[in-house]
Each structure stands twice: as C-alpha cells, then as structure tokens.
C-alpha cells in the first residue's frame, strides 16, 4: 500500500510541478526509448508521427525534427519497398533537414543527419546516384567535423564509409579496425549537451570492433 501511495503521490507531484521545458524533455526521453523496439517501416512511421506531434508543439526545437528525419531515413533504407515509396520517405527527411539547417545552422549533428540522408538517397539506386550523392555525403561529414572535430557520429559515419569502400576494393581494413577501437574508447568522453541530444552510433561501432576481432 505504502508503495502505491508513494507512487501516486509522486505522479501527482510530477504532474503539478512539471512545466514547459521539463515536460518537453520528459516526452522526448519517453519517445526516444521507443527507438529500441522499432524494426519495420510501420514502427518507424509510428515513431516519426510521435516526433511530429512534439515538433508541432515545440516549434523552436530542432531535436524533434532531427529524430523525425532519422525515422524517415531509416524507412528509406528498407530495400523491400518500391523505390518510389523509399524516395517519398527520403523527401520527407530532406525537407526536415532543410528546416533544421535554417533553425540550427551551427549544429554538427544536423550535418551528420544530412550526410546520413544522402547515403539513404544513394542506396536506393547506387549505379545511378553514386556519382552525384557521394560528394554530398563527404561534404556534410566534413562540415560536421569542421564544427565539432570530436563528434563521434560524424567520425563513425566517415569511418564506416571508408571501411566499406576499402573492403569493396579488397584493401586491407585493419587500419579502420584500429580507428574503430579508438573511437569506441573515446565514445563516452563526448559530452552530451542534454539527455535528449543524439546519442546513437556506439552500438554500431561496437559491431565493427566485434567483426574486426573475428
């Protein structure tokens, strides 16, 4: 019983005390946790919808747009879907990125997402798009790194691009394994501005390190 009372009390207090910004952060945290359970395009669409609702209310914040764009890019990566549909998701992401670039032109993370978008665009039709998209992918990462040389996501994207290229051309990938290990060691030293700032990528780097060890 005591426990129920406490819980209810806590709930009441949070509801009462929590105003604007805290509610935003809480809502974002809650929504971000759903990323872990997403796998199908429908899951990501549902999540994108949730970020859209937050973005509508918090029209000065770029982070809801960021995650919404990320959902659409991930949907764009779904190979089983028709290319036209994949492109329509990517168009959605592109519009969100443009909006973010106007709101937060000095955020390295926005350029990381831009690079991710161009990668998604390329992947829909590599033979036809590689030539135009590749320089855009590189350029966005270069911009992100110019703003924040230690941004782990920018470093990760660059690493995975270069490593992918090297392995495609049958080159030695061991230098990239060392880089990945170094990136992983340093990963947690990067200070997040807030608990809802982008924090993805570590798992993927762990994956690279693991596959290097095999």
């Amino acid at each position: 019983m005591k426990r129920t009372t406490l819980l209810l009390g806590a709930l009441l207090i949070t509801t009462l005390v929590m105003g604007g910004n805290d509610r935003y952060i809480e809502k974002m945290r809650e929504t971000l946790q759903l990323f872990a359970g997403c796998s199908t395009p429908e899951d990501y669409q549902d999540l994108a919808n949730r970020f859209r609702v937050i973005a509508n209310v918090e029209s000065d914040e770029w982070l809801p747009l960021y995650y919404e764009a990320q959902c659409y890019i991930l949907m764009g990566f779904t190979g089983q879907l028709e290319n036209e549909l994949r492109d329509s998701y990517l168009d959605k992401a592109s519009a969100l990125i443009d909006k973010m670039l106007a709101m937060a032109p000095n955020e390295a993370e926005v350029y990381v997402m831009k690079s991710f978008y161009h990668t998604g665009y390329l992947v829909v039709n590599p033979p036809q798009r590689a030539m135009s998209a590749t320089p855009l992918i590189h350029e966005a990462i270069a911009r992100a790194l110019a703003m924040e040389p230690d941004n782990p996501r920018a470093l990760f994207l660059r690493l995975s691009n270069e490593m992918g290229t090297a392995s495609y051309f049958g080159e030695d990938t061991s230098p990239y394994c060392d880089q990945a290990a170094a990136l992983l060691r340093e990963w947690d030293n990067y200070e997040l501005e807030s608990p809802i700032h982008p924090n993805w990528g570590k798992q993927e780097v762990e994956g690279i390190v693991k596959s290097c060890g095999e």
Partner: protein, 725 residues
C-alpha cells in the same frame, strides 16, 4: 489500507481529477477516397503532446486529457492534412470513417509524355541517366550517339547527327540551360561521323523531345534536346582522363556558395590511326585542343548563376579522290574554331514566381581548303532569353517568355579569282505563353502559343500548341499532343535570298506509357505534316535556281521503347524499335519520294550487366536498320536504290579499379559487318554518259577506345587517420 488513508487518497484524487483524469477517447477509421485503410496515419490534438497512429486497419483510438474546443489533426504522407474542430468533454467520441484525399504531388501527378524522353539523376527519369549516356553503346561518351539508341531516331552513319522522325538533322536543336547552342556538333570532313561538343558528364538532366514540345522551344521542326548542367560542385577535385586518342585534365575548386571548374583537353588521333586500320586516307589525322571554364554561384536563398565558356580548335586533312575525274586525288583540309559561352541565372524572385534568364554566344568558323581553292563558313550567333514561371495554384502553372536571336552567317571564297564574300544577318524576336492546367492530379492540359518575327525574312509566325495527358492508373497514362512548328530555311538558301518563308511542320502525337517499378513501356504513334519546305529547280554549284517554299512532305510511324531494370538481377536491358514511313517533295526532288536519311525499321537492343565481384559493367548494344534509299543518276527512278541494311554490335567494359579510378574500353562493330550508308555520284557523266559512283561507308571498320578516368579529391585519408588516433 485503513479507511482514513483511503479517504484522503480519494479526496486527493478527486481534487486533481480535473487535471488528471478527464480523459476523452476519440476513435475513428482513416481511409482513402477508395475506402482503403490508411495505416500509420498521424492523429493528434493540435498544440498538445497527445497523439496516436492508426493501425493496419486504419483504426485509431486517441486518449487525451485536453478539454474544451480543440483541433484534431490527421496527417498521412501524400494526403491533404485534415484539421477538424472537436469538443473534448471527457466522454467517448467515435468519429467513424474519416476520408483523406490525395494531395497534389508533383512526383505522382500526371505529366505530358507525348514525344518526350527525360533523363537524369532525378527520380522521375525513365529513359536514360547521364551514366547511360557514357556507357550505353559504342558512342564513347557522345550525347548524340547515346540518343540514337532511343526510338524515333535514325542512325545516319555518315553524319552522326540527330535525325528524328523523318526530319533532317538541321531540324533538331540543342539547348543548354535554356539557351540555344548554334553549333552543337564537331566539324568533320564530308561523309564522316561527327560528335557532340559537350561531355555527358557536364549534365545532370536531359529532356529529349521528338515532337509536340512546349511553346518555350522554337526554330526546330523535328526535335529539341534540352540539357541541364550540373549544380554547384561541393568538393575540390582533380580529374585526369587518359585515352588512346588524347588526354584531359580538369580541376574544381569549391567554396561555400560558389565553385569553379576548368579543364583542358588535347586529342590527337594519329597514333591510334596508325595502329587501327582506317579506310579514310589521312594526310593529317584529326587533332583538337579545347579549354573550358565553368563557374557556379549561389545567390540569395534559391538563386543560381551558371557561367560556362569553351574554346576549341580542331583540324584535319584527308586525301580524297575526285568523283568527276577518277584517279585525281585532292587534299581536303579543315580547320575549325569554335567558341561558346553560356550564362544563366535562375531563381525564385518571390514565392511561386521563378525567373530564368539566359544568354548564349556561339562563334564558329570552318576554314576548308580543297587543294588550291577553298571557302570559309562562319557563324556568329547569340540567344537571349527571359522566362517567368508562376505557380498560381497547385492546379495552374503559367509560363511566359521573350527571346532574342541574333545571327550572322558568312560564306567566303578567299582564293577564288574574284574574292567573294556572302553573308546575311538575321534577328529573330520570339515570345511565348503557356498554361498548364490540372483538372485533377490525373488530368492535365497544356496550352500555349509562340510568336516569332524574323527581320531578315520579314515574316512572322504564330505557333499554337496543345497537349493533354490522362492517367489511366497509377502506372499508366495516355498523352496527346498537337502543334505547329516553324523554322528558318537552311542557311545555304538564306545566303542567296531573303525572299523565303519559314518552313513548317505540324505534329500529331499519341503516346501510351506504362511506368511500373523498374519497367517502362513507351509507345507512340505520330503523324507529321511538312509544309513550306524549300524547293529549287537546279543547283549549278553556285546558285539555286527557281528557289521557293512549295516543298512539302509527311512522316508517320510507330515508336516503341521497353526498358526493364527488374527482371534480371544485376542486369538491365532496353529495346527500342521505330517504324517510319516518310516522303518529301523538296530541294530538287522531281516528286514525292522517300529521302535518303531514313530507314523504315530501326531496332536497338541494349543490355548492361553489373559483375559485382569484378566491379565491372559490361554493356552490349546491337543496332539494326533497314536499307536507306539513295539516288542513282544513271537510273530513271529518283531515290530508287537501296543501300545495305545497317547492323552493328558494339560492346563496352567499365571497370572500377579504385573508388576514384575507372578503366573504360569500347569497341564498335565487333562482328566487322560491312557497313554502307548509300552512294555518291559524280555531278557530270563520263565520256560513256555514265555517272561514276562510289559507296559511302564508315571511315574505319571499327572504333576502339580505351581510357582511364581518375578523380582525385582533397579528402586526404592520411589526415583523417591522424584525426581519429
């Protein structure tokens, strides 16, 4: 729990219930106009965090603690957003079925495809990509060579230029970023194939129209090729191309809002022609030197300034045998100087108003010497264009423009006994107006008109054009178009007289298109009527006798294009077939006759295969065309003789050695089939009264090219390694 505690808790809950528990549940089912469920639609209360998504059946249930008059929003990609006023009073509200209507979407809306092939890296492009232009066939990166793999075109081996739907190559015009390229082809000796002057790599988009084009384009009776150059470059890089016939070096410097690219190319076919046997007897093999500069500047939010300039000099000398005097060998020497400048600015001047301005300048000079005689042909032309486009609504787009063409054409005989110089200047003022009206996103009509006035001919023309397209299903559509087209007569006639009228063609086109995922079927029936073609009695080598506009003709046919990128994994193919029946009574024809540049049947099959393990692409192209007609003056039938059918199998191989190094090789006419494009005859008979004739063929049995393309960017990997470790 003790009763007291319970009571306190209850009262506390009651106290805050207004805030906490006045939940309203709204439910409904989201459907499209056909009654199909829309899953994962976004449903939320405006201005609150309360939202949900519809499930696979389109059903949603949204619980909200908001109260009073609020707005319920429903969003779904590609559909118009719904905003509905709703009163939240703490009870259940079932909204039942909610129908969403499809939003006007430029990507899925119907477009007019009659006569049109679009290409590029854009999503909608169906025919060719810029990459296809480079690797499609034995064209070795020639834009016009690649277009000859599309239906509606005829391969005319001794020319290399575009011949579209029974039209002469002169009837096709090329535009770069909206402005005219007066001389899009390189110069060559008579009966040898020419190439386009521009590399396909310069362009990110292409619109090739084989009839019924927009009122924006004039001075073309048959076809329009509109090329869009690349946007701003974002990376500094160095490009090196090494070919068996020359080398090219280019560099790009990019800034935040601008980029500059410059390149220098030198080609010399001498070493190549010493190794690969040639039919043509060369005194001096072709060589050329070209330099170009391209500048891009972003202005304001959406504006883009593009400036491109190129200088080119090429020369060659062949040994030719006189037809009138067999055994007599003469030197044919050609020196060509070409300069081209193109500048354009394009941008949104205010919301939904786009201004495009462009200017082009072409200067071209061919100096031809035939032993001790010769002539110089020169052309100086400019084109200025201003176009304003307005999107009045999703359903109505308007376009209006004004153009100014100024050209001077000259013909000089510097070594004639009495030095002769003939020239004329022509200024053409043109304006056009066009509206695109969408009745629904499935039905569009485009109506426009074009006015032209030529101050040399002192004639004006008004060309109405109308087309419409209807989307039969998501994947198929029908387009129709009708229009009038005018063009100045050939410059050789205008050098002699200005008392001629415009030549005219009327186009009727019916197009049926199926564009499924990865597969395209483009089929087209057309009829073309030619009026006011230039006709003359006799040409005595200097003067066209009895020159008039009484020529006429017609062409009708069927074009089929099938492209399949889906059925074969890592492979794709396309098949292009044209049937054409075309006759003319023009020039010195005695009557209506099939002309010599059209084959009745043309078939091209292209197959490309990507070998992932080898990082290579193999391209194979097979073309076959029925015989063309030519005139034998020894025969009583005009244009009654037939050449050999044309057939050629070519192949190319591209190998990605490194991310930045591509090796490319191509061979045309792999099977070594005999190729003959017709016959040419002496203008005077020999002592037996026979006109001596000679077959026209290619300048060599095969064309072989091997090249290596290297791109070096400033993304120095070593530096990047340092940064991480």
């Amino acid at each position: 729990m003790t009763p007291l505690k319970y009571q306190i808790l209850c009262s506390l809950l009651f106290l805050f219930s207004g805030h906490l528990f006045a939940q309203t549940a709204i439910s409904g089912v989201i459907k499209d106009s056909k009654g199909e469920a829309l899953p994962a639609a976004n449903i939320y209360i405006e201005g609150s965090y309360d939202g949900t998504s519809s499930n696979m059946e389109g059903f949603f249930r949204l619980e909200t603690s908001e109260t009073g008059e609020r707005i319920l929003c429903i969003e779904y990609i590609g559909y118009a957003k719904i905003r509905r006023e709703i009163t939240l009073g703490g009870s259940e509200a079932d909204l039942g079925a909610i129908e969403m209507s499809e939003q006007f979407n430029e990507l899925t809306a119907v477009t007019i495809t009659a006569g049109t092939f679009e290409a590029g890296d854009q999503k909608k492009s169906i025919a060719l990509s810029s990459l296809d232009m480079v690797t499609a066939d034995g064209s070795s990166g020639d834009v016009y060579g690649a277009l000859q793999a599309l239906p509606g075109t005829t391969t005319v081996g001794e020319s290399g230029k575009l011949f579209v739907k029974g039209g002469d190559s002169r009837e096709s015009k090329t535009f770069i970023d909206g402005t005219l390229v007066y001389v899009p082809y390189s110069s060559s000796s008579p009966n040898t194939s020419v190439r386009g002057r521009f590399s396909p790599f310069m362009f990110s988009g292409m619109m090739f129209s084989t009839g019924g084009y927009s009122a924006e384009y004039g001075q073309a009776l048959s076809s329009v090729l509109s090329l869009k150059t690349n946007a701003m470059e974002v990376q500094d890089q160095l490009n090196i191309s090494l070919l068996t016939v020359g080398a090219e070096l280019g560099g790009t410097k990019s800034w935040d809002h601008a980029s500059l690219t410059s390149s220098l190319a030198y080609y010399n076919l001498k070493p190549y022609m010493h190794v690969v046997p040639q039919y043509t007897r060369w005194e001096k093999e072709p060589q050329s030197l070209a330099g170009d500069l391209s500048f891009r500047l972003k202005t304001g939010k959406s504006g883009m300034l593009k400036v491109y300039g190129t200088l080119n000099r090429s020369s060659l000398t062949t040994l030719e045998e006189s037809l009138n005097h067999p055994g007599n060998i003469f030197h044919y020497k050609l020196v060509n100087d070409n300069q081209f400048i193109n500048a354009s600015w394009n941008g949104e001047i205010r919301k939904d108003w786009i201004l495009s301005t462009g200017f082009s300048y072409t200067s071209n000079q061919d100096r031809i010497s035939i032993d001790s005689t010769g002539y110089n042909e020169s052309l100086l032309g400019t084109h200025t264009k201003v176009v304003l486009k307005h999107k009045a609504s999703e359903y109505l787009r308007l376009m209006a423009g004004v153009e100014w063409y100024a050209s001077t054409v000259g013909m000089e005989y510097p070594r004639a006994e009495a030095e002769q110089y003939n020239s004329y200047r022509n200024h053409t003022l043109a304006s056009f107006l066009e509206a695109e009206i969408y009745a629904t996103s499935r039905f569009v009509t485009r109506a426009g008109s074009r006015f032209e006035y030529s101050d040399y001919l002192k004639r004006s023309s008004v060309a109405p054009r109308i087309s419409a397209a209807y989307k039969l299903s998501d994947k198929s559509q029908l387009s129709l178009s009708y229009g009038w087209f005018f063009q100045d007569p050939d410059q050789r006639f205008l050098l002699q007289t200005s008392s001629l009228n415009f030549e005219r063609a009327n186009h009727y086109t019916l197009n049926f298109l199926i564009n499924g995922e990865g597969r395209v079927l483009h089929s087209e029936l057309y009829y073309k009527q030619y009026l006011n073609l230039v006709k003359y009695g006799v040409y005595n080598g200097q003067i066209y006798n009895n020159i008039n506009n009484e020529g006429h003709g017609y062409a009708y046919g069927l074009d089929l294009f099938w492209r399949d990128k889906k059925s074969i994994s890592n492979g794709e193919y396309w098949i292009s077939y044209s049937f054409i029946e075309s006759k003319r009574d023009y020039l010195d024809y005695p009557h209506l006759a099939m002309h010599n540049y059209t084959s009745r049947h043309n078939l091209t099959v292209v197959y490309k295969h990507w070998f992932d393990g080898l990082r290579s692409q193999l391209g194979v192209n097979y073309s076959i065309a029925s015989p063309r007609y030519y005139n034998d003056p020894n025969s009583s039938t005009f244009n009654g003789e037939k050449s050999l059918p044309y057939n050629s199998l070519s192949a190319n191989w591209s190998y990605l050695l490194r991310q930045h190094i591509i090796i490319y090789a191509t061979v045309s006419n792999l099977l070594g089939s005999e190729q003959q494009f017709g016959y040419q005859y002496a203008s005077i008979p020999d002592e037996d009264g026979i006109y001596h004739g000679e077959a026209i063929g290619p300048s060599a049995k095969r064309w072989i090219l091997v090249g290596c393309f290297i791109t070096l960017s400033r993304d120095r990997k070593l530096n990047q390694l340092d940064k991480i470790n």
